[in-house]
């Protein structure tokens, strides 16, 4: 049957905070095949890569694994068309002190070259995959020559979980031009075919490897039992690593006593107002995002849009609706508590203030919260005083926040048993 175009109804809806905040350009909840907001941020691109058919440059080293068409995904080296020391381009752990525009500038230089391959080919990798994995063993930049099949697209990659990246192009082949010594602790895990992926992630983390690098090797199918090795889309690998490590840390911190008094940390970073409150109780965690009008996911809204996600002492079984950020912040706070040898009930709030209209990846909240927790905090004996201080330092209305927060509701509306001793 032929359906005339005029008969097809419009099935998509206009962007609004209630669909854009849980989606963040990842689920296409508005019914389009692309995110209209991300496309808007992406429009002023230079044409410098337009005629490129060969890329020669130093990869940080890095790769990109796409998630479209899973389980047949796009995978290949990520590199700029220049030689030099590009290590910083792919270590978000060092980016917090940089200007956002500088980060965008160097990230957009990274071209995603790719070839399509099935994810389970990681258990029996072909030669070019082995070369790609060898490249990731190096902790220094690796020089590469890539012959492209066609010119790169004009579109950069902007995503709420992944750091931004430049345009993409399929490659014909690539050659590694320089070799550096491999990272020995990584090499050990890579060749250990009997170590499961979670244990491998924890081992690398305990050896001091940056989480951004662990997610990279996970995505390249370099970790886990031989028969289960798979390529993991970059976006999923970032959250999988945050989730796996923080779960491990939380299980450990539950053996420690609670903190003695309430601690409140606060800081404003790049138009994001963070407040972290720790109560002297057993572990539980809530993450709240309040998006103001004229911010990435609430671009045309008139009201502040607040969303929250919570887990009790026992933990959660489903995936947090706020996605990657929830797990990145959980990692930062559990690292802090374990370092203090204490546990606590943690409420972390992020207000995204008008003007923050980009999406730069979850590294931003992870590194922000890690940074804030290194600074001084204010201590309170009682929860009313602490919460008054919190409300004074937030822009959103107290009542709206309480309505959305399980921890605040419990703190203000639920008595504790120990009041009746």
């Amino acid at each position: 049957m032929i359906i005339r175009a005029s008969k097809i109804k419009r099935l998509y809806i206009e962007p609004s905070p209630s669909i854009c905040i849980p989606c963040k350009g990842s689920k296409y909840l508005c019914g389009r095949s692309y995110c209209p907001l991300l496309l808007k941020f992406n429009k002023n691109l230079s044409d410098q890569n337009k005629h490129l058919l060969v890329i020669e440059g130093t990869s940080p080293p890095s790769i990109f694994v796409g998630r479209y068409n899973y389980p047949k995904v796009r995978i290949g080296p990520l590199l700029p068309n220049k030689f030099g020391s590009t290590e910083l381009y792919d270590i978000p752990e060092f980016w917090l002190t940089l200007r956002i525009e500088d980060i965008l500038n160097f990230r957009y230089e990274l071209i995603r070259s790719y070839n399509s391959i099935k994810v389970d080919e990681a258990k029996d990798p072909r030669n070019w995959i082995i070369n790609l994995q060898d490249m990731l063993l190096s902790s220094k930049g690796v020089d590469i020559h890539v012959k492209l099949k066609k010119n790169p697209t004009k579109l950069n990659l902007i995503d709420d979980v992944i750091p931004p990246m430049g345009p993409s192009a399929p490659f014909e082949n690539f050659d590694i031009l320089s070799f550096h010594s491999s990272d020995r602790s990584l090499e050990k895990v890579y060749y250990d075919y009997d170590l499961n992926a979670s244990e491998a992630i924890i081992k690398l983390y305990n050896n001091g490897m940056y989480v951004s690098r662990i997610s990279k090797v996970l995505s390249a199918g370099m970790l886990g039992l031989k028969k289960y090795r798979k390529f993991v889309p970059t976006r999923w690998s970032i959250t999988a690593v945050d989730d796996t490590i923080s779960k491990h840390l939380i299980a450990k911190l539950k053996f420690y006593p609670t903190i003695d008094k309430i601690r409140v940390f606060k800081k404003n970073i790049h138009l994001n107002n963070f407040i972290i409150i720790m109560f002297p109780e057993k572990w539980s965690y809530e993450w709240i995002e309040a998006w103001y009008p004229n911010t990435t996911w609430n671009i045309q809204g008139k009201d502040v849009s607040i969303e929250s996600d919570y887990e009790s002492y026992v933990g959660r079984k489903d995936y947090a609706k706020l996605g990657g950020c929830y797990y990145s912040v959980r990692l930062a706070v559990s690292e802090y508590l374990l370092n203090e040898k204490r546990q606590a009930k943690v409420l972390a709030i992020r207000e995204i203030l008008p003007g923050f209209v980009t999406s730069i990846g979850v590294w931003f909240v992870r590194e922000s919260v890690r940074n804030i927790l290194k600074e001084n905090y204010k201590e309170f004996e009682n929860s009313l005083e602490a919460l008054n201080y919190v409300f004074e330092n937030l822009n959103i209305s107290k009542d709206e926040l309480i309505l959305k927060s399980k921890i605040l509701k419990d703190e203000l509306q639920q008595n504790k048993i120990n009041m009746y001793y």
Partner: protein, 248 residues
């Protein structure tokens, strides 16, 4: 050091199942009088007080004045789940810091768990004065709270003259259950009382009809709710649930 025998393994597993939604790790204390557990949930909103006197067990043997036994309830329940029917159970604690469970029935099954290496906290008794005491069928009370949970995060308990009410409301609507003295097994009250409690907790505490068909509840205005299940052979499982700050 300690040997305890349950005539029916099911009673031990059902007790653990009854408290695991409130307490993650349990620290039982065994004395010549019997086995007991007092623990709070991680948010300190609810408390469990379990007393199993030595006569509760078919055999109870202790060589010390006090023995502490700490373990993760949920992991023990998970492992023992298949062992419920028709088995006799012996729980033994030796010197090697292991708790040993032996199921004797169709075959002879042994499980050993390492004891938790952390001290349980000493929780004092609560000082509470109640204005109302109600005995009600376990299932009837649970059904009423389940209805209220569909409307509200908390249920208000109220006693006035000869009537006991539970209700909850929100923008979704309102649910009310009313019981006259005749509907209840027993109703005693000294003063009118009204207090609200979290339905999430109530659902974890109420409805344990495999332990007792009758639930005894006691409360007063802005005072924790006391929920008692009288077990066979003088055993007793009590829960306390702190009230919400406001009553609606």
């Amino acid at each position: 050091m300690l040997t305890i025998e349950f005539e029916d393994a099911k009673s031990w597993i059902e007790l653990l199942e009854a408290i695991r939604d409130i307490v993650e790790e349990a620290f039982f204390v065994a004395t010549p009088e019997g086995l007991s557990l007092r623990a709070m949930d991680s948010a300190r909103v609810a408390m469990v007080d379990l007393k199993l006197p030595s006569v509760y067990f078919s055999n109870y043997n202790i060589e010390k004045e006090e023995v502490k036994i700490g373990f993760s309830i949920s992991s023990m329940v998970k492992i023992l789940k298949g062992m419920r029917k028709g088995y006799k159970l012996t729980l033994e604690l030796g010197e090697e810091n292991l708790i040993k469970l032996r199921f004797i029935g169709k075959g002879y099954h042994t499980f050993e768990f390492p004891l938790l290496d952390i001290e349980g906290e000493n929780i004092p008794s609560l000082k509470l004065k109640f204005d109302a005491k109600i005995k009600i069928e376990t299932k009837v009370l649970m059904d009423a709270v389940e209805n209220i949970e569909k409307f509200s995060d908390y249920a208000t308990f109220k006693v006035e003259s000869e009537k006991f009410m539970i209700y909850g409301k929100s923008e979704k609507g309102r649910a009310t259950s009313e019981f006259s003295k005749e509907d209840l097994i027993e109703l005693q009250f000294e003063n009118e009382a009204i207090s609200s409690y979290s339905t999430e907790y109530l659902l974890n505490i109420l409805g344990k009809d495999n332990l007792s068909e009758i639930t005894v509840i006691e409360f007063a205005t802005k005072v924790p709710l006391k929920v008692t299940y009288n077990l066979e052979n003088e055993g007793e499982l009590v829960y306390y649930l702190a009230p919400r700050t406001e009553t609606e």
